[in-house]
């Protein structure tokens, strides 16, 4: 049952991601991005990271996607047009070249991962032997909070300062002025 649900979530995630990148209508593609994010949050639950899944839904679906939709609605409708293929330059390769690169990259990744299953990292084997893996009955939120405030305090503060810098920068960039 668990494996079946995992496969369901992963098929929904990967399928709607593939549909997303091949869709002409950008608003529909963005709403498909909702589906991808929700099913990836479901996959986080299967990795026993329930708090990360909730954060994903809150931050991505509640923040990032609404931001993208607002950026559409507040701007010109030219922004929505997927442009026709014209002369090709380096960055925007023709579709089949991008497809070739993506598929070969996928092949390399999958080959590496299948090969790497025989050589499990030592710390994973050690923690599995010691029984120190996260179990479904564990209270992850409490442990996450304690570790965030003790062992990971420095990255936490650095991230909060960086978040403030990014928000100030975004507010500065979108000012209504003649000059940027």
């Amino acid at each position: 049952m668990e494996t079946l649900l995992f496969y369901l979530f992963s098929v929904v995630a990967v399928g709607s991601a593939i549909l997303l990148v091949s869709m002409k209508n950008i608003v529909r593609a963005l709403f498909l991005f909702f589906v991808v994010l929700f099913s990836v949050a479901g996959l986080y639950v299967f990795a026993l990271a329930d708090f990360v899944a909730i954060t994903q839904i809150l931050v991505y679906v509640g923040g990032v996607l609404v931001l993208m939709l607002f950026a559409f609605m507040l701007s010109n409708k030219e922004l929505l047009n997927q442009l026709q293929n014209g002369t090709s330059h380096f960055f925007a390769l023709p579709v089949w070249q991008a497809l070739f690169i993506a598929v070969s990259f996928l092949a390399v990744l999958v080959y590496t991962m299948v090969q790497a299953t025989a050589y499990e990292p030592e710390w994973i084997t050690a923690s599995r032997d010691a029984g120190a893996i996260i179990r479904p009955t564990d209270n992850t939120v409490q442990h996450l909070g304690v570790h965030l405030m003790t062992h990971y305090l420095l990255p936490f503060e650095v991230v909060s300062v960086l978040l403030m810098m990014a928000l100030i920068g975004a507010a500065h960039l979108t000012r209504k002025e003649d000059r940027i």
């Binding site: 990271a49 708090f51 990360v52 993208m68 070249q97 690169i101 993506a102 990744l109 299948v114 996260i134």
Partner: protein, 101 residues
Amino acid sequence: MITLTHFLIVSACLFSTGLYAVLARRNAILVLVGIELMINAAILNLVAFGRYDKALYGGQVFALFAIVLAAAGVAVALAIILNVYKYYKTVDPEDIRNLKD
């Protein structure tokens, strides 16, 4: 219990899809969506490996940090895209080439 390889293969599929979007789409917003897909694949890897780190919860904590950084990145990138649109009247990455050599 779902093994690590399953998570890795799903995240590889998501990553390649994002890579395709970054390379092939000709609208900057969809390029941004492709980058977000790649970030999500990376976070899935972090979370999948983090299950074996009960002592410090390193994977899950850094997955949270990565989500926060991605959100901040999206805010700045959308601001930049809107400014680029105001200046060039297009969001095709191919047509924005005033910095070319």
